[in-house]
Amino acid sequence: MEQDASQIKEQESTGETFEPKIEAFVCTYCTYTAADMAGSQRLQYPPTVRIVKYLCTGKVEIVHILKAFEAGADAVFVGG
């Protein structure tokens, strides 16, 4: 892993930029609608985000967040 990390640094120094992967756990009634609207309003935001839609963010389990990091997410946010 150390080796890989140094490889990543190397890529960065050679001009290849680090594109983070952001996981968004969102509520279908508010944040998902907002995200949808951001699209229809042609708002510019980084293409780094992957959205997971919940019927209610009250169902976001601790282990869902942990598993996202375990699988390599660079950041996670919950929107609700």
Binding site: C30, A34, T48, G58, F69, D74, A75, V76, F77, V78
Partner: protein, 76 residues
């Protein structure tokens, strides 16, 4: 914050996110990579801002140190 469709679902999520931050500190990954945002249905710019904030944070903190392992496992 007080206008959740299910009355208090987002407040429960907030509590859980705060607790998960503690768990992330315990394992040494740090709480900076996780955040809760209250974004209403009409707050499209706020969503764009949240993505921006988290992207910048991730760039500051660098890649998830667990990623290499996860991708290796995926490739295998």
């Amino acid at each position: 914050m007080g206008d959740c469709h299910f009355l208090e679902g987002n407040l429960r999520a907030k509590e859980r996110v705060e607790y998960t931050k503690k768990l992330l500190n315990e394992i040494g990954l740090g709480e900076g990579r996780l955040e809760m945002f209250h974004i209403g249905a009409s707050d499209a710019p706020l969503f764009a801002e949240a993505v921006e904030i988290m992207t910048n944070r991730a760039k500051e903190l660098g890649p998830n140190p667990l990623k290499c392992g996860a991708e290796k496992a995926e490739a295998a």
